[in-house]
Amino acid sequence: MSNVGAILQFTIDVLSLGSLYALMALGLVIIYGILRLVNFAYGELIMVVGYALFLLSPTPLPWLVMGLLAVLVSIMTAYLTERIAFRPLRERSLTAVLITSFAVSTMLQNAAMLFVSPRARVVPLPEIFTVQVIIAERIVPLRNLIAIGVSIALLALFALLLKRTILGIALRAAADKFMMTRMLGIPANLVIGTAFAISGLLAGTVALFWFGRTGSVTPEIGLWPLLVAFVSTVIGGMRSLLGAVVGGYVLALIQMTFSNFLPPELLEFRVTFVFTLVIFILLFRPEGLIRGR
C-alpha cells in the first residue's frame, strides 16, 4: 500500500520538477535553434522575476496580477537584451554574442546587487502554494500539481502556436534554415524578437514556480536554472524542441533518482555526477537523445 504511495509521490515529484525543467530548456533551445547562441543571460530572467515580485509585494495588487506583471518584466528583459546587446553583434561573430550574453548575465546580477541588495529577499507567494493535499496517504504540495498543469497547458499552447500560426511556421523555418527563411521574405528581427519574447515568457512562468520552491531571491539564483536548461538541452539534443522537453523530464528523473538512492556521502557530489553525465552524453552522442534534422 505504501509502495503505491511512494511510487505516486516519486512520479509527481519527477513530473512537477521535469515540467519546469522542460519549459526552461525549451526557452533556451528556441534561441539556440535560430541564432546558434548559447544564451548565458538566460538564468537572470528567473532572477528578474524574483526581484519584480519582491518590489511589487508592498502594493495591494492581488498575487495573480503581480505574477503576470513579473512575467511581463521577464519578457521585456529578454527582448531588450536582444535588442540592445545581441542585435548589433549577431551578424558579425557568434563568439562575440556568446561572450556578450555572459557579460549581460554579470551585468544583471550586479545591477541586482547594486540597486536592490546582495542579500536574499523574500518573494511574495500566493496562499494556494502552501496548500497540501493528501493522495494515497502521501502529502503532496498542491503547487506541484499546479506546476504540472500550467506547464502542460503552456507546452500545448506553444505546440499549437508552432504548428498552426504563420508566426510559428516562420519560427520553425528560421530554426531550420535561418538564411533561407530570410531570403523568402521573413523579417529576421521579427522572428528573433519573438523568439526572445517567448523565451522570456517560458522562463518567467518557470520562475513563479521556482520561487514557490525556494521562497527567496538572490542575485546568483539564476545559475542553477541556467545549468538545468543547459543540461536538459544537451541530454535531449540541441537542435530539437521536442528533445529539450524530453531532456527536461529525463534530467528531473535522474536528479530525483540520485536524491532518493545515492548514499548521503555521495549525495553532496550530485552536481558532479549530473555534469559528468552531460560530458559523457556529449562525447558519445553529441546530438543528444533526439536528433534534429
Binding site: 548559447v38 563568439t95 555572459f102 543540461v231 562525447l283
Partner: protein, 350 residues
C-alpha cells in the same frame, strides 16, 4: 642601425621587447615608489596577466571560448598549498587531511612546480576527449568542467577545507617574482603564436575543414593549446594562493571567469599584445572604480552599501567594446616597434 634592422626581421623578438619594456618599467617604478597598496595591485595584475596570457594562447588561437581554465587555476592553488603548507599549520587548517599528505612540506618553488604539474596533468586527461567538440557543445562542456571542478573543490573537504576559507598560507609571491613569471610567460606565448603549432591552431580557427584537409591534426593542436592554457592557469593559481594567503573555492568561479574574460576580450583575444593591453587597462579600470565605490560608501549618498558597481560598469564596458570593436582594442595585431620601416620589408608575416 644593424641591430634595429635585425629586430625588424624578428617579429617575435620585436613584440616581446615592445611588451616587456613597459611592463618592466611599471614593475621597477612600483618597487621604487614602495607604496604597499600599489605593490599589491601590480602584483595581482601580473598574476592575472599569466592567466589571461594562457587564455589567449588557447582561446585567441583556436577561437573556442573557455570557462574551464579558472577551475584549473583552483586546482593549481590547492595543489600547491598541499605541498607548501607547514605541517603544523596543516594540522590546524586541514584537520581531515589524509595521513600520507600530512608530513609533506616542500619549499615554495618546488611546491609550485608540483601544483602546476598536477593541474596540467588533470587538464591533459580530462580535456583530450573534449577537443573534438565545437560550437555550443564545446562551450557547454567547458562550462560543465568548471562547474564540476568547483563542486569538487567545495565538497572535497579533506584537501580543500570545503567551502570555508583555507588559511595559514605563507606569503611567497611578491612583485618581482610575479613580474618575472608573467614576462617569461608572455615571451613564450608570443613565440607560440608564431610557432608551427600556433599557426596550425589559428588555421583551424579560421577554417576547420580546410585546416584538416591540409593535414593539420586539429585534435592534437587544440589539445596542446588547452593544456598549455591550463598549465598557465594552474601556475597562476599557485602564485595567487601564496599572494592572497587565505582563499576559498568561490574565488575560482564565475566572477573570476568574467574578470579574466573581460581582460582578454577588451584587449583583443587575437594577439598577445591584446592580452597585455586588456589586463593593464581592466586592472586600472577596476581599481579606479573600486576607489570610487569606496568613496560612495564613505559619503553614504545612497544610504546603504554600494556593492557591485565595479563589476556592473565593467560588464557594460565589455558589452560596449564588443559592439563597437568586436575584435578588441588591438584587433588581433601585435604591438611592434616601428624600427627600420625605411627598408619596408613586404615579406613580413601577418
Amino acid at each position: 642601425m644593424d641591430i634595429l634592422r635585425q629586430l625588424d626581421r624578428a617579429p617575435i623578438l620585436n613584440t616581446s621587447i615592445t611588451l616587456l619594456v613597459p611592463l618592466a618599467l611599471l614593475a621597477a617604478l612600483t618597487a621604487l615608489l614602495g607604496d604597499l597598496l600599489l605593490e599589491r595591485i601590480v602584483t595581482a595584475m601580473f598574476i592575472h596577466l599569466i592567466v589571461v596570457t594562457g587564455l589567449q594562447m588557447f582561446m585567441g588561437n583556436s577561437g573556442i571560448v573557455s570557462f574551464a581554465h579558472i577551475g584549473f587555476m583552483g586546482i593549481g592553488a590547492y595543489a600547491t598549498v598541499l605541498f607548501s603548507l607547514d605541517p603544523e599549520v596543516k594540522a590546524m587548517t586541514l584537520r581531515h587531511l589524509y595521513e600520507f599528505l600530512k608530513p609533506v612540506h616542500l619549499p615554495f618553488w618546488a611546491a609550485l612546480l608540483f601544483g602546476t604539474g598536477i593541474g596540467t596533468v588533470v587538464a591533459a586527461i580530462i580535456s583530450y576527449p573534449l577537443m573534438r567538440l565545437h560550437d555550443a557543445a564545446a562551450v557547454i562542456t567547458s562550462f560543465a568542467v568548471l562547474v564540476v571542478l568547483h563542486d569538487v573543490m567545495v565538497h572535497w573537504t579533506e584537501v580543500t577545507n570545503g567551502p570555508r576559507t583555507l588559511f595559514g598560507v605563507e606569503r611567497e609571491t611578491f612583485l618581482w617574482n610575479s613580474a618575472l613569471c608573467a614576462m617569461i610567460g608572455l615571451v613564450f606565448a608570443t613565440w607560440f603564436r608564431e610557432s608551427k603549432v600556433g599557426l596550425q591552431l589559428r588555421a583551424s580557427r579560421d577554417d576547420r575543414m580546410a585546416a584538416q584537409a591540409v593535414g593539420i591534426n586539429m585534435l592534437a593542436v587544440r589539445w596542446l593549446g588547452f593544456v598549455l592554457m591550463c598549465g598557465y592557469a594552474a601556475f597562476a593559481g599557485g602564485l595567487f594562493a601564496h599572494f592572497i594567503t587565505s582563499f576559498q573555492p568561490r574565488q575560482f568561479y564565475l566572477a573570476e571567469v568574467f574578470v579574466v574574460l573581460a581582460m582578454l576580450v577588451i584587449g583583443g583575444p587575437g594577439s598577445v599584445s591584446g592580452a597585455v593591453v586588456g589586463t593593464v587597462l581592466v586592472t586600472a579600470l577596476r581599481e579606479g572604480l573600486r576607489v570610487g565605490e569606496a568613496q560612495l560608501n564613505i559619503m553614504q549618498i545612497f544610504g546603504g552599501q554600494v556593492v557591485g558597481l565595479t563589476e556592473f560598469l565593467l560588464a557594460i564596458s565589455m558589452i560596449a567594446i564588443l559592439i563597437f570593436r568586436p575584435a578588441g582594442l588591438m584587433r588581433g595585431r601585435e604591438l611592434r616597434l616601428p624600427l627600420g620601416r625605411t627598408t619596408a620589408a613586404p615579406r613580413r608575416s601577418r
